[in-house]
């Protein structure tokens, strides 16, 4: 499929307040963000910076905001299957089998029952769950459940995928495997991806661009472009340079002295 499949996202002057006991609290202030069709953009920042709130607003789950959000040039009115969302939890219906859960995602596709069945089967094969189609969610491992959730979202043929820390509850091996699968999916389908993450390596590995937010109120601090060619080598110096820029933008100490910082040898000498 071509890159024309993804939908562009345009956000300008986005403000969001929550009503609190001590007056309204500003969660987002003046967010401007343009994501071209088929791009992979990550929002990263400390907790409370409102990165998940941005996703919920784009998803149409919360319609109480000020500013402009346009997807594919059109304003949004509530949720839409073109804007799929993956949550940190798999959120499968526990009383439905994997197959039934995925079929719910394609409920609006207008397929005949036989065609729907074939479509669901193909999606499950794609995420590597062909053998688990008739299991209940409680019988799945965390990685399998999140794969089933991906298949359910894909069943709605989304053109913009909102990923709210979908891998953060998984173990390291599953996380790496799913990051790889997500990258392949993105490359094959051209779906625009907006990922919310607090994992710097995940952001550096997957994104074309990383938007660094800060908290109180949530606003954009800086945007880090990531032009590294794919497939990316997590161990390469160029990759680590991107990570270093992100650590720096997030004001996170990495445990090694920065350029301009005091030299440990000097400190040791002075202590003596």
């Amino acid at each position: 499929m071509s890159d024309a499949r993804g939908l562009p996202l345009h956000i300008s002057r986005l403000d969001k307040h929550y009503a609190g006991k001590a007056g309204p609290r500003t969660v987002l202030r003046g967010i401007d963000l343009d994501v071209e069709a088929g791009a992979f953009v990550t929002l990263i920042g400390p907790s409370g910076c409102g990165k998940s709130t941005v996703l919920r607003l784009v998803a149409g789950l919360d319609r109480d905001y000020a500013g402009t959000i346009r997807v594919g040039g059109a304003p949004i009115h509530g949720p839409d299957l073109a804007r799929g969302m993956l949550f940190q939890e798999h959120r499968l219906f526990p009383w439905l089998t994997v197959r039934q859960n995925v079929a719910l995602g394609a409920f609006h596709s207008g397929r005949t029952p036989a065609a729907l069945d074939a479509h669901v089967g193909a999606l499950l094969e794609r995420v590597g769950l062909g053998h688990a189609a008739d299991l209940f969610p409680s019988q799945l491992s965390g990685g399998m459940a999140q794969r089933a959730s991906i298949a359910r979202t894909l069943a709605g043929d989304p053109r913009l995928l909102l990923l709210d820390e979908p891998f953060s509850a998984l173990d390291a091996f599953n996380r790496l495997a799913l990051q790889l699968e997500l990258e392949r999916l993105w490359q094959r389908t051209g779906i625009t991806m907006i990922l919310v993450s607090h994992d710097i390596e995940e952001a550096a590995y997957l994104s074309d661009r990383i938007v660094v937010l800060e908290a109180d109120p949530g606003r954009i601090r800086t945007v880090v472009d990531n032009p590294l060619p794919r497939p990316r080598d997590r161990l390469s110096p160029a990759f680590n340079a991107i990570k270093a820029r992100l650590f720096d933008a997030l004001h996170v100490a990495t445990g090694t002295p920065h350029a301009g910082g005091a030299d440990p040898a000097t400190i040791a000498e002075e202590a003596l």
């Binding site: 789950l61 219906f93 009383w95 209940f136 409680s138």
Partner: protein, 286 residues
């Protein structure tokens, strides 16, 4: 090995010199056997004790008000002879079923509406409070007066008596429905019918089954009153005629038959239904 077994091995006095493994093995074996037999033996034990106690009372009191077990057995034979009991039971069941169905559908609809819309909750709250306080006897009397004798009066009396309790029960279930799954349903743009069948009803299933038990137990009590006052068929009517004849053994016989049918519905139908509907649940290992 269960933790209870190992702690028992340590706590039993005088068993200090025995190898702990042997004690544990023996205790565990005993526990497994007891665990298998308990669901059958213990209820039968209670029934036996009650029957024995009753017979002892009958012997001690020598009163026609406390008939001996054989007399009750004879009455049971008379009641069940020629399928008479099942005919009356079917009539009563139909009345209960009709009233229960009305109340159940109304309570599910009102419960979901109340859980989702605060205005509806405020509006209907007085109805629940008043409904819970009105005795079933009042509904039975009023419905006999309003609807006369027939299925309608009985069904309406049953529905009015059990709906408030059902509604209260379902309302608690609605408020506990997973908000995260509601968001998923919104994201997938599921239509109302799918939301009901794939989200609301399965979420509410434990509540609904509990409500069904509660509702049925209340429904029996009311339908018997309606039959006693205004109808010429059903278990309540038969109870009333035995009462008129001062036949204590007859009253007990009808009640025993009634209770047996209830037990079949409880264990044969509701428990099986629950087992089937809740099969997606991971069984707890502790």
């Amino acid at each position: 090995m269960s933790p209870e077994a190992s702690s028992a091995g340590r706590l039993v006095p005088g068993a200090v010199h025995e190898a702990p493994q042997a004690i544990r093995a023996r205790t565990a074996g005993w526990r497994i056997a007891a665990g298998r037999l308990a669901p059958v033996v213990l209820p039968l034990l209670l029934l036996g004790l009650v029957a024995g106690g009753w017979e002892a009372m009958a012997v001690a009191l020598h009163s026609p008000l406390v008939p001996h077990l054989p007399e009750i057995g004879k009455e049971l034979g008379r009641v069940f002879k020629g399928g008479r009991f099942f005919g009356e039971m079917a009539v009563t069941l139909l009345r209960v079923g009709a009233g229960f169905a009305i109340a159940f559908v109304a309570a599910v609809a009102a419960g979901i509406a109340m859980g989702r819309q605060k205005a509806v909750a405020h509006f209907l709250e007085p109805a629940i409070i008043v409904g819970l306080t009105v005795p079933g006897l009042v509904w039975a009397l009023l419905c006999v007066i309003w609807f006369g004798i027939g299925l309608t009066g009985a069904a309406v009396a049953v529905a009015l008596s059990i709906a408030p309790a059902l509604l209260l029960n379902i309302l608690q279930g609605v408020r506990a429905v997973d908000a995260e799954l509601l968001e998923v349903a919104a994201m997938l743009r599921l239509p109302l019918r799918k939301r009901l069948t794939c989200l609301w009803l399965p979420s509410l299933m434990p509540t609904l089954l509990g409500g069904a038990r509660l509702g049925l137990s209340l429904a029996w009590k009311v339908v018997v009153l309606v039959e006693l006052f205004g109808l010429s068929s059903g278990i309540g009517y038969q109870l009333n005629s035995e009462f008129g004849a001062q036949n204590v053994a007859g009253v007990i016989a009808w009640t025993l038959g009634f209770a047996a049918v209830m037990a079949v519905i409880e264990y044969g139908v509701l428990a099986q239904l629950e087992h089937h509907l809740m099969r997606w649940r991971r069984t707890a290992q502790v």
